[in-house]
Structure formats: structure tokens, C-alpha cells
């Protein structure tokens, strides 16, 4: 494979930013954000340069690697710190650095009044570096470093305002639930090494054909667990909603556009594993399908704009996971949806941030309304993102989501119908809840207090929003033009098997659009045409209660894990004190006790001593006698 010594700069630039901003401390307060933004942009430039280089090579020699140094080498366990840039990673690199840079720019203004802005930018740069390492690592172990690195950055950023206890808890929750996923990745690496003797992508790919299906299934399931944790998929989805505690740009970058999609990356990157493990692959699709509905349902009931968007993210990633679970036919579309989603969801989050910026950080949509007039740019950019996500042609989401639904339906048999049907249903629900967000925020009558002074955000904020909005509009078309993106990625994957088309593409599109129309219509009827309370009504269906409480995800986690865990902890603390240490102390007490009672034999009377001697003499004689006989 071609080596390229320039890859390291992709990571080194933002890493340098993070480290220097953190080490310099307050000294860098004045210019830290500028440095961070510049470095992120620099990394983007390097990415573009690499892309141009890559485009200039023929298909076979497009992937390039760079070995930095030998990282871990013990016995047959050899892992180099080396980077791999291929068609898949470059897509991510550009998304991460591109969207990342925009969000850096946005944040300069958004965080302008925060005393800790420098620290915020340091974290952002740290995140960019870790995320780039995640997508550039050439082995599972290198990926793991980035994987936990983004987890750390996410933790730091969610808890950026950790002086609020709830935010601190949210960050911890995110990290811990991510760690459960990471555990899956650990298992996967262990299995790979134990069964295949290698942990690099190329090595595993090479050995995959020799491996038993059971091994590959185990490996696949472990990778899936990892993906589920990082991408907030069912059943490890509960942290994402709480993660909205972080500043909004963070939600846009990490919890919408990039980090949460790492699970999709992992599964697509491990295509050779899942291709060799059909059962694991099916499980991937099922998890994706469950989550896309799950997230969508939660989204229908959320009044907090960021949480609604978070639920939507969960659901959209469900689509991607579903796509990744469809095998070679779906990988490219999953990634494509990931990229278009990166644009429109980041854009919408930034839009939400802009709304909050103008509304004194109010997040409750029931306290919004009629903001269209006050923030026209935000309305337009948000609206374009909205059209993209619900899949209205020719906006970006239409292409990517439509292809996913189509591929799902074509997956064959009952599986295809169920998965495709779910995806279709999801499209409808998505349309409903996103329309609800639009209406509640922008078009319904105003419900805010008079002391609110909604206003449009400064240029530094809306320009990134606008750029992302442009992406939401055209990215789908561009990527799908002549199936360009599919062909771009194709060399990395196995050839998809032939599937008969269940329905012609045009019919699928029609169905999807019908679902979308129904969803939009219901939302319009419910929220635009009828009065909306500024406080959440209580006389709602059981289901709404359910959905408001995230379908009881926290309650279930608490009942299944947290409370038993706490019980185990307190029980063990007691056991440690009373049983184990008690036993030790007991032995001590026993020695002291027997000492004290034996001590009583020393009565002080000569006669009893003499008696003791006499008894001893008798015993001694008896003992010698017995032995002699």
C-alpha cells in the first residue's frame, strides 16, 4: 500500500491546539479560540489536499498508510501506531473537519460571553483530533484510542457547564454508557487476536475467510455492542438525550454529526466481519430498525427542542445502522446518509442554538412560537434542514433515506418487508415530529413572555448555519449523482449479492413521500391549526406520557442496572467490613480471648502449679508409655 507521511498532520494540528490551549491556560484566553479554529481549518485543508491526491490515483492505489511508530509489541501481539486513509476515512475526515470547522466558527460567537471559552475550544480541538484518530487508525486498537478519546471529549463537553449538578451527572452517564459499548470493542479485539492473531483491519479482513462463522458472529456482535454504545442505539440509547446538557455547538458536532455516527463507521469498516457473519449482520439491521422507531417515537413527545433533535438523531442513526446491517448493498448508503445527516442535523442543531441564543437559553418549544419573524435566517436554514431530514426531494435526506428504504425493502423475503416497512413507518413519524418542531418553534403563535427579546444571531453564527443549509440542500443530489458515492466506496466492500427488486424505486419513493405527507399533515393539524399550550398538557394518552419519559429507558436502566448495582455496592461494603475484615478481626479476637482464658490458669497458688506439674508428669509418662507400647 502507498505510504504517505502527511496523514499525521490531520491529527497533529488539532491535537496541538488542544494541548497548547490546555497547558497555556488563561494566557491563551484572548486568542485561543482563533488558534483552535485555524487548526481545525488547517486540518480540513490537509484533508482536501489528501482528497485531491487520492482522486488523482487509480482505484486500487487510493488507500494510503503511514506508520508512525511501533506502539505495542509483545510476542505475537504487534500493533503499530499507523494511520490508514482510504475512501471511507477521507469521507469522514472531510465531514469531521469540515463540519467541525464550521462549528468552531459558530462557537466563537456562541461562546463569546463564556469565561471558559478557551477551554471549550481546547475540548473541541481534542475532539477533532480523537475523532480523526478514530477514523484514521488502521487497526481496531488504534481505533479504540480514538473511540475512547471522543468519549472523553464528549464527556468533557457535555459537562462543560458541570457546575450544574445535573449536567455533571449527564456527562458521567454518557461516559459510563459509552464504556459499556467500549467493553464490546475490547471483547472484539480480544476475539480477533485470539482467533485470528491480528487486530488490524487488513489483517482481520485477510483472515476472515478462514475463520469459522461462530467466531465471526461473536466478533460481529461485540462490534455491534460497541457501535450501539457509541451511537446511542437501542438498548444503550439513554445517554444521548441527557447529553444535550452540553453547549449546543457540541450537540451539533458530537451528538449529531460526527461522534455518534462512529458506530456506523465501525460497522461499515468491519464489513468483512459482518459479511462473514449473516446472523450478526441481521442483528445489526434489527437494532437499527428498533432504534429508528424508538427514537422517532420519543421525538414525537419531546418539548425540549434539543432533546427532540437528539431523539431524531438517534432515529436517523438507526437508519444508518439499518443500512449498515443490510450488507454490501447498504454500506455506501449508510455512509451517504451519515454525511447528509451530518449537514442537516448539524445545521438544525446550530439553528436550535441560534434560537436559544435569541431566547435567553429557553429550550422549551412550548415557550416558543412565531420566531419566523424574529429570526428569519435561522428559520430558513433550519427549514432547509427540516426539508432535508423528512426527505422531501430534492433535498439531501431524500436521496440518502430513500436509498436506505429501498435497499431495506429489497433485502429479500420477510426480512426485507419488515425492515423496509419499519423504515417507511419511521419516515412518516420523522415527518410528524420534525414538522411539530418547525411549527412549535417558528410558525405557531407566540407563547413567550414579554420580557423575551428574540433576535437574529450574529453573522459569525448564521454563516456556518447557512453553509450547512446549502449542504443540506445539495449534498444528497451531488453524492447520488450517477451513484458517485456508491462507486467511490465500492472498492472497499464485497460485491453485493443479487436481489430481486421487491418494488420499483419509483414506487418506494412514492410510498415514502406518502408517509411523509401523512406525518406532516397530522402535525399541521395538531399543532398549526389548533391551540398549543405553553405548558405541557397532562391529559394526554398513556403513550405520550411514555414517550415523554423516553419510553421509560431511564427507569428500566435504573431498575435493571443502577439499583441492583447500588445494592451490590452497599452490600459489598457491608460484607467487607463485617464478614471479611470481621473474620480477620475475629481471628485476632480469638487469639486475645484464648490468651485471656488461658491466662486464668495462672492462679497464683503454688499448689496449683505443683498440681500442674504433677499432671504434666503423669501425661508425659503416659505419652512415653503409649508410644513405647
Amino acid at each position: 500500500m502507498v505510504t504517505n507521511s502527511g496523514l499525521v498532520y490531520l491529527i497533529a494540528l488539532p491535537l496541538f491546539g488542544a494541548v497548547s490551549l490546555l497547558l497555556l491556560g488563561r494566557r491563551a484566553d484572548k486568542w485561543g479560540h482563533l488558534l483552535a479554529t485555524a487548526l481545525s481549518a488547517g486540518s480540513f485543508a490537509v484533508g482536501l489536499f489528501q482528497l485531491s491526491q487520492m482522486l488523482g490515483r487509480d482505484v486500487e492505489s487510493r488507500p494510503v498508510t503511514q506508520k508512525l511508530f511501533t506502539w505495542i509489541s509483545v510476542g505475537s501481539f504487534n500493533v503499530d501506531a499507523s494511520l490508514l486513509l482510504d475512501q471511507l476515512s477521507i469521507s469522514f475526515v472531510l465531514l469531521i473537519t469540515g463540519v467541525g470547522t464550521l462549528i468552531h466558527i459558530y462557537s466563537i460567537s456562541y461562546m463569546a460571553h463564556d469565561p471558559d471559552r478557551r477551554r471549550f475550544f481546547a475540548y473541541l480541538n481534542l475532539f477533532i483530533a480523537a475523532m480523526l484518530l478514530l477514523v484514521l487508525g488502521d487497526s481496531y486498537l488504534n481505533l479504540y484510542v480514538g473511540w475512547e478519546g471522543v468519549g472523553l471529549a464528549s464527556y468533557l463537553l457535555i459537562g462543560f457547564w458541570n457546575q450544574k449538578a445535573a449536567y455533571a451527572t449527564a456527562s458521567k452517564k454518557a461516559f459510563v454508557m459509552n464504556r459499556i459499548g467500549d467493553m464490546g470493542l475490547s471483547f472484539a479485539i480480544m476475539i480477533a487476536f485470539a482467533s485470528l492473531g491480528t487486530v488490524s483491519f487488513s489483517g482481520v479482513k485477510e483472515k476472515a475467510e478462514f475463520a469459522s462463522e461462530a467466531t465471526m458472529t461473536a466478533l460481529g456482535i461485540m462490534l455491534l455492542i460497541a457501535a450501539v454504545g457509541k451511537s446511542a442505539q437501542f438498548p444503550l440509547q439513554a445517554w444521548l438525550g441527557d447529553a444535550m446538557a452540553g453547549p449546543t455547538p457540541v450537540s451539533a458536532l458530537i451528538h449529531a454529526a460526527t461522534m455518534v455516527t462512529a458506530g456506523v463507521y465501525l460497522i461499515v469498516r468491519s464489513n468483512f466481519v459482518f459479511d462473514a457473519a449473516p446472523n450478526a449482520q441481521l442483528l445489526v439491521a434489527i437494532i437499527g430498525a428498533i432504534t429508528l422507531i424508538f427514537g422517532a417515537l420519543i421525538g414525537t413527545a419531546k418539548d425540549d427542542i434539543k432533546k427532540a433533535l437528539a431523539a431524531s438523531t438517534m432515529s436517523q442513526i438507526g437508519y444508518m445502522i439499518l443500512g449498515a446491517g443490510l450488507g454490501p448493498a447498504g454500506y455506501a448508503y449508510a455512509i451517504m446518509h451519515l454525511i447528509t445527516h451530518g449537514f442537516f442535523k448539524a445545521g438544525m442543531f446550530l439553528g436550535a442554538g441560534s434560537v436559544m441564543h435569541g431566547m435567553n437559553d429557553e429550550v422549551n418549544m412550548r415557550k416558543y412560537g412565531a420566531l419566523r419573524k424574529f429570526m428569519p435566517i435561522t428559520f430558513v436554514t433550519f427549514g432547509l434542514g427540516y426539508l432535508a431530514i423528512i426527505g422531501v426531494p430534492p433535498f439531501a435526506g431524500f436521496y440518502s433515506k430513500d436509498m436506505l428504504i429501498e435497499t431495506a425493502l429489497n433485502a429479500g423475503g420477510v426480512k426485507g418487508i419488515l425492515l423496509g416497512g419499519t423504515a417507511l413507518l419511521g419516515a412518516g413519524i420523522t415527518a410528524f415530529y420534525m414538522t411539530r418542531v418547525m411549527i412549535l418553534t417558528f410558525t405557531s403563535p407566540k407563547r413567550w413572555d414579554d420580557n423575551q427579546r428574540p433576535h437574529e444571531s450574529p453573522a459569525l453564527m448564521w454563516i456556518p448555519m447557512a453553509i450547512l443549509a446549502v449542504g443540506s440542500v445539495i449534498s444528497g443530489y451531488l453524492l447520488h449523482q450517477g451513484k458517485a458515492f456508491k462507486h467511490w466506496l465500492e472498492p472497499l466492500f464485497a460485491k453485493p449479492g443479487e436481489h430481486s427488486e421487491l418494488l420499483p424505486p419509483i414506487v418506494v419513493s412514492g410510498l415514502a413521500l406518502t408517509m411523509v405527507a401523512i406525518g406532516v399533515a397530522i402535525a399541521v393539524v395538531k399543532y398549526q391549526l389548533s391551540e398549543v399550550d405553553s405548558v405541557a398538557p397532562e391529559n394526554v394518552t398513556e403513550f405520550t406520557h411514555f414517550a415523554r419519559r423516553d419510553l421509560l429507558q431511564d427507569e428500566i436502566n435504573e431498575a435493571l442496572f443502577m439499583r441492583p448495582g447500588q445494592a451490590i455496592t452497599s452490600a459489598l461494603v457491608k460484607i467487607d467490613q463485617s464478614v471479611i475484615d470481621g473474620a480477620v478481626r475475629g481471628i485476632g479476637q480469638m487469639a486475645i480471648g484464648s490468651g485471656s482464658s488461658l491466662r486464668k490458669s495462672q492462679t497464683g497458688f503454688v499448689r496449683s502449679y505443683a498440681a500442674l506439674i504433677l499432671v504434666g508428669a503423669a501425661a508425659l509418662i503416659a505419652a512415653i508409655w503409649v508410644v513405647t507400647q
Binding site: 450544574k164 449538578a165 487476536f193 492473531g197 467466531t215 448495582g565
Partner: protein
């Protein structure tokens, strides 16, 4: 002068003693000079340790810097020193940690019962013994250091600690003595057996052949004597209850040496003595030991989660970590063993960081209860960051040193004992909890009353903690220098055991 043939080990053991002797001539009132001499000595020893590492030939297996003089020839006892990669790494860790402890605990001697002179004399004597215990290649000499080093630690805890220091010191000493006496029984056994089957010797290389002549039953019994002593020291569940008490009562610096270095003698002993001398018995007991190790990992983690006192918490995390180390050792794979050795080194530094920063925090707040802290990140950012990074190292975040070792242990164990490795991996989730819970309580959240005016780290404290963090980060990305030292030794030990690493199960053919 031929550097390779120098008596490096004796030199490094002699220096602290000379420092102690120098301390004896200093007037009691001159505390500053006392500290300066102690610091200069420990720094000098650290330099010697580094030079020694540089002069170590990575590619040669077996002992280097070998010295041997008859000590008690009547019993075949020699003053025999030598290091392989494993011992060298641990000596390096010890000599690096000691000056850091001296700097960080610059004022630790002042809360004690006795003068600073006593404090630093004890530290220096302890340093000599720490080097000796790792450098001995004579079983008897090892035992002498193993037991004798209890005494300075005992006085350090009991004389300079806080709270129930006397009780904790006694508990520590009694536990250790109990184990040590069982080991003495085994050493007597070895002595008698080696006399019976050939020549009276305590030379570890010669004794490595002893297991071929004694009965399996005898081997098992002798093994247990050693192992229990080491398991108490390490400490392995359920022989751990002395550690939280001792760590809570000792000064932070002492705790660093206690958990960072002394307890490593336990795990080091498992490699050097249990595995080498009793390979068959080690195999017999491996299932039991791996089970105990896995229990330790989870148990320590749960108790750390439940701990209310920050020092106890760190102690419990260490129990969990020692579980990993023990598991790695008995996995009998090169990854497991190298990982465990590297883990010992890394744990030394990550625990040092945790304890030292915790010490700084406690010093300021006059309390070690976690709930007394709150919102420190905004009051004392540097201190908070130091604690946070130390915590991340403890939870084995990739990119920090402990990740490499923990992962090697897990991978190494998985190839032979997948179930144990899988259960142990759950420890990493618990690790996230036991670190992030105190981080949240102490560093995050609103600044609680009593914490508003705490001062941030002083220059001295920064100087102490910076190298520790630097090592943690540097070794996370680039552990090769250490692994290059450790690997040949680990490979030797594994092959002596008659083990080879399991081949990949699915590497060829269906």
C-alpha cells in the same frame, strides 16, 4: 571505568544509606537541610537508576548487573544481586517515585510524632530495601528485604499518618508478618529440600530446578507459603482488608510508596518466585488464583464505588488493579506477563498521581471525605485537572499508560482463559464509575461551602506532579522502551514454564 561491570545495584542501595548517615549528623532543628539532603540523595539514586536502565542490554535474557558475595555460607546464602527486565523496570519505578514523593510530601514530616530527620531516614532506608527486594537473586536475601522493609513502612504509617494511624500500622504489619512467616516456612522447606537433593543454596537460578526432584505435594505446599505471602502483599481478595486502612491512615507519600512499590513486591514475587520455583504448582493453582484475581477486580471496583473516603477509594481501585496484574501473571502468556509487568510500572505512577493530588486536596480541605469537596474545578483548576488525568489513567483511558498494560493483560488472558478475561473486562465499566463519581462529587457541581477559597497547586506541587503525568501520557503513546526491556524477561519466564502462547484458533483453514 567499564559501566556494564559496575556494581550498579549495590551502589544504588548504598546511596540512600549514605544519605541516612548524612542525616544523622544534621542538627534536629535544621529541617530544610534535612529535606534537601533527602531530596538530593533520592534524585541521585534516580539518576543512577536511569543510567542503569540505559546500560541494560535489552537483548540479553537472564540477569544482568550480577553481583554475588557469600553472606552466610553455612546456609548457602549469598548476597547475590542481579536484575532481569522485570526487576529493572520495577527498580526504575521505585527510584523515580521516591524523589517525587519527597518533593510532593515536602511538609509531610511535620504532622508526625517525630522529627523530619526520622521521616527522611525511614524513607531512605525504605528506598534501599525497595531496590534490594527487587534486585535479590538469592531467595533468602529477598526474604530479608521483604520482611525488613515492613519496619520503616510501619513507622512511617504509625508515626506520620493521620486518624487511626497506629491501628492501621499494626494491621498492616500483622497481616504482612503473617504472610511473611508462612513464606519463612516455605523458605525453610526450600532450604531443607535443596540440602537433601544436592547442594545447599538459595540461588534462584539453581533452585529453579528444584521442582523436578521434590514431590508434587511438597511443591504445592511450598508454593502456597510463598503465594499467600504475596497475595497478602499484593493484595488479593480476600486478604486485602489491611490496605484501605493503611492507605487511609498513611501520609500520601507513604501511601504512594506502599501501594506503588511495596505492594508490587507481591506481584513481582509471584513472577520471580512462584512461577520460577514452582511451575507445576503454579499450574495446579492457576484456576483458583485467576478466580481470586477476577473477584478482586470486580470486588475492588465495587468497593471503590461505595467508598466515601478518597484515600480508601484509591486503595480499593488498587485492589482492582492488582487483580488485573495477578490475572495477567497467571495467564501464562507473554502478553499477560509483559502486560502485568508494565501494569505494575504504570500503576505505580497512576496511583502516585492519584494519591499525591488527593493528598494536596486533603491538605487544603483538612478532610478526606469526598462529599466535603465540591466544584474544585472552578476553584483550583490545575489541581482538579491533575486529579482528573490521574483518574483517567486509573480507569485506563486509551492514550494513557495504564491502557496499554490493562489491555495487554486482558488480551493475554483472553487467549487462554477467555471467561476470566470477559468477566474482568466488566471491571472497565466499573472503573469508569469509581473514577467519575468522585470526580463529579469533588471537582464538578457547584462550589460547596468550605471550598471557595482553596488555593491551587504551588510551584513545588506542580513540579512533583508534572513528571508523573508526563510519564503517564508518554508511556500511553510510546510504551516500547519499557516493553523492550520487559519482553525478553517475560518470554524467558513463560518458556521456563513450558508454555507457549496459544496460537490463533482460526488463523488457517476452515
Amino acid at each position: 571505568m567499564n559501566l556494564a561491570n559496575m556494581n550498579w545495584l549495590t551502589l544504588s542501595m548504598l546511596l540512600p544509606l549514605l544519605g541516612t548517615a548524612a542525616l544523622a549528623f544534621i542538627p534536629k532543628g535544621n529541617v530544610l537541610l534535612t529535606k534537601q539532603i533527602a531530596l538530593a540523595t533520592t534524585v541521585l539514586v534516580a539518576v543512577v537508576g536511569i543510567l542503569m536502565t540505559i546500560n541494560f542490554d535489552f537483548n540479553t535474557p537472564g540477569f544482568q548487573f550480577v553481583e554475588s558475595r557469600p553472606w552466610i555460607p553455612a546456609f548457602g546464602i549469598n548476597y547475590a544481586l542481579g536484575v532481569d527486565g522485570i526487576a529493572l523496570v520495577l527498580i526504575l519505578m521505585s527510584v523515580l517515585l521516591t524523589p517525587i514523593v519527597v518533593i510532593a510530601g515536602w511538609n509531610e514530616s511535620e504532622g508526625g510524632r517525630w522529627s523530619a530527620k526520622t521521616f527522611y531516614s525511614l524513607i531512605l532506608v525504605l528506598e534501599t530495601m525497595m531496590i534490594g527486594v527487587f534486585a535479590s537473586t538469592d531467595v533468602f536475601l529477598f526474604y530479608v528485604f521483604f520482611e525488613a522493609m515492613l519496619v520503616p513502612v510501619y513507622f512511617l504509617i504509625g508515626g506520620f499518618g493521620s486518624g487511626e494511624r497506629a491501628a492501621a500500622a499494626v494491621k498492616f504489619l500483622l497481616y504482612s508478618l503473617f504472610g511473611g512467616l508462612l513464606m519463612l516456612a516455605s523458605i525453610v522447606g526450600i532450604f531443607v529440600m535443596s540440602t537433601r537433593y544436592g547442594n545447599r543454596t538459595f540461588d534462584i537460578t539453581t533452585l529453579a530446578g528444584l521442582h523436578t526432584v521434590i514431590t508434587p505435594m511438597m511443591e504445592n505446599v511450598l508454593f502456597l507459603g510463598f503465594f499467600i505471602a504475596f497475595a497478602i502483599k499484593a493484595p488479593l481478595w480476600p486478604m486485602h482488608t489491611w490496605l484501605p486502612d493503611a492507605a487511609k491512615s498513611a501520609t500520601p507519600g507513604t501511601s504512594v510508596l506502599l501501594l506503588g512499590v511495596l505492594d508490587k513486591v507481591g506481584t513481582f514475587g509471584m513472577i520471580r518466585y512462584c512461577l520460577t520455583l514452582f511451575p507445576e504448582a503454579s499450574k495446579t493453582f492457576t484456576p483458583l488464583i485467576i478466580t481470586l484475581a477476577v473477584i478482586s477486580i470486580l470486588y475492588g471496583a465495587f468497593l471503590a464505588i461505595g467508598a466515601k473516603d478518597i484515600k480508601r477509594l484509591i486503595a480499593y481501585t488498587s485492589i482492582s488493579h492488582f487483580g488485573f496484574i495477578t490475572m495477567g501473571i497467571f495467564a501464562m502468556t507473554t502478553q499477560g506477563l509483559s502486560g502485568a509487568t508494565l501494569y505494575m510500572f504504570n500503576h505505580g505512577f497512576s496511583t502516585a498521581a492519584l494519591f499525591l493530588v488527593a493528598g494536596f486536596m486533603i491538605l487544603r480541605r483538612k478532610s478526606s471525605t469526598i462529599s466535603d469537596f465540591g466544584g474544585l474545578q472552578r476553584v483550583t483548576p490545575i489541581m482538579a485537572w491533575s486529579f482528573f488525568i490521574a483518574g483517567l489513567s486509573s480507569l485506563a483511558l486509551p492514550g494513557l499508560s495504564s491502557f496499554v498494560s490493562e489491555f495487554l493483560v486482558l488480551v493475554g488472558t483472553f487467549t487462554r482463559y477467555p471467561v476470566a478475561a470477559v468477566i474482568a473486562t466488566f471491571g472497565i465499566v466499573l472503573a469508569a464509575l469509581y473514577i467519575l463519581i468522585p470526580v463529579q462529587r469533588a471537582l464538578h457541581g457547584p462550589t460547596t461551602p468550605g471550598n471557595e477559597n482553596l488555593p491551587d497547586l504551588t510551584l513545588r506541587e506542580k513540579v512533583a506532579i508534572a513528571p508523573v503525568i508526563a510519564i503517564i501520557v508518554a508511556l500511553g503513546f510510546y510504551p516500547s522502551p519499557l516493553l523492550n526491556i520487559i519482553n525478553p524477561a517475560a518470554t524467558t519466564v513463560i518458556s521456563q514454564q513450558g508454555f507457549t502462547d496459544p496460537a490463533p484458533t482460526n488463523s488457517e483453514g476452515k
